[in-house]
Symmetry: C3
Amino acid sequence: MRDNNALPLLNEIAMRRPAVHCLTNTVVQALTANMLLAVGAIPSMSSDIVEVADFTKSADALLVNIGTLDGDLKASIRAAIAAARENGIPWIFDPVFIDRSPPRAAYAKELLALGPALIRGNKGEIATLGGGPADLARKTGAIVAMTGVTDLVTDGEAEITLDGGHELMSLVTGIGCAGTAMLAACVAVSAPNVRLASVAAGLDLFGKAGEQAARESKGPGTFAVAILDQLYQFSQSSLQERKVEA
Amino acid sequence: MRDNNALPLLNEIAMRRPAVHCLTNTVVQALTANMLLAVGAIPSMSSDIVEVADFTKSADALLVNIGTLDGDLKASIRAAIAAARENGIPWIFDPVFIDRSPPRAAYAKELLALGPALIRGNKGEIATLGGGPADLARKTGAIVAMTGVTDLVTDGEAEITLDGGHELMSLVTGIGCAGTAMLAACVAVSAPNVRLASVAAGLDLFGKAGEQAARESKGPGTFAVAILDQLYQFSQSSLQERKVEA
Amino acid sequence: MRDNNALPLLNEIAMRRPAVHCLTNTVVQALTANMLLAVGAIPSMSSDIVEVADFTKSADALLVNIGTLDGDLKASIRAAIAAARENGIPWIFDPVFIDRSPPRAAYAKELLALGPALIRGNKGEIATLGGGPADLARKTGAIVAMTGVTDLVTDGEAEITLDGGHELMSLVTGIGCAGTAMLAACVAVSAPNVRLASVAAGLDLFGKAGEQAARESKGPGTFAVAILDQLYQFSQSSLQERKVEA
């Protein structure tokens, strides 16, 4: 663990316990909440239009994942983003499956104009938003994380690439979505000028957790369990490391 | 297991297999259903306004958890509670996160007037409903279970406190919500005059399952799996115990 | 594994990776997606009326499970089935709990007229649809799989019965629903004239996976994890077998 450069970041999350309000698809809500809890963040998930602004205002970051949608959720997403913007709370965008449905892609493009702090998508999703990741970052002012066999993180100027992870990560529903939620926690505890490094460190940690979990797994069932344990253990190590240093 | 005083209660659940209709938040539906199944209860989860009364009428208890809400669900909750009241079916209230949103708190207070058999919340949630747990019990006629590091159960006169549990229980989303569902099964098989003892026995068992699961876990991933196994094993033991006695 | 006659079918799924669009209840979405992923199929889950036709058109099968319902979902189900029919995509029907609610039973009977390729239900659900499984198959043109301690698959003429499985399968929410999704993947890769055999082979495999998972489990928690691993391992074996033969 000594060379894990995400430990200071994990330590920040574990000490500050950022609240992340998640407007995310129903398929992945449980895994998303569990991943945030594993690293010490505090998830909430309400999408009721009458209360979504309250939840957002009292959070440290807002996650918007459009993996499942309906008219009510779209209205709630707009209300939550408005509350985030009014209160200077960063919002993170996961444009799931926009390459499968033109109306979904159109909706995603509308949201782009609302200043996300981070966009995380795979190659097809980023391409559907228009241009390459660096273009998208420059156009929106967001950090863009394009994930795949190799992950790429960019703010439109600097660019960091990361290898790692394991193919089992693609065989558990919502691992990517939950990973974006963990990145939201990373953004929540990072000043704007170090966010690029934080997102890269978070992705690197996520890949390492996946690799380690895969070594202990017999398939996607045990893998989904093991990656939560692994992130928790990384988080606990970050607290331990701090004690040793003190 | 000999000194586990919840075994007769678990035996009742395993033999009578109470149906618990759950109007609960989408994040925790799967864990809630799995926890009920592990102890031999029968979960159902429909929130469709046109059928929620039918499901409630044919159940032995109704669980209302407001962790995620929208207008449709609020209408369905009212219809389900009305059906429960007309048919003498106890309903159990889990006022999740009402300390995070004033409209949610206002809605929770409306429901209070509808005679829940049991209210389960943490300190902040109980305080938001007004007064301490004993006050709340006297005002509503409900048993109140205030859970935390120490759990407290009261009917407004007698009061039982319970230690136990494990901090990993707070790192798995919905463990508390699913625990309330298990308490609903306890209420379903208990006459009103023994409900206070039943709820306390159920909470005690839940804490013991958490402690045992934590001993076998490497983190929140394995813990969430182990607590289901543990409750199932307690339930199986209660059936075995009965056979030995017979 | 040599005598597992579902291996060629699993190999087809693993090689062709069929997309299965699932309109299913929120309780079981994650397990359903994970089971499809474990055998190499591609799940999607959107139920938004404005995009459900797009998702269905680009899928190889459509799963309709009515375990949780509301007005919006009913409209989306109709739109998705219409898109499936226009594009010659088979749709699979899981009429969950229709024996618990008359309005739900009436809705299910409406859907029957829309030509499902496969209906999977337990004895009570099939009886609520009217007549026995063979009658139902003849009336609808669907293959009917009636699952229970013994499974029965029929196209109204031939009939295949299957023993196997394990009682732990009934203690994990959504195992049956996820199993139907796996059958949807089987239907997706099978020509109409071999679907009866494919559905039977899929059910047989599912029962074998359940038996094997039960042997490695201490309760329903570990079982839910192990059955995913087991299906993944069967799928991997089917790929390996192909390599050995080549």
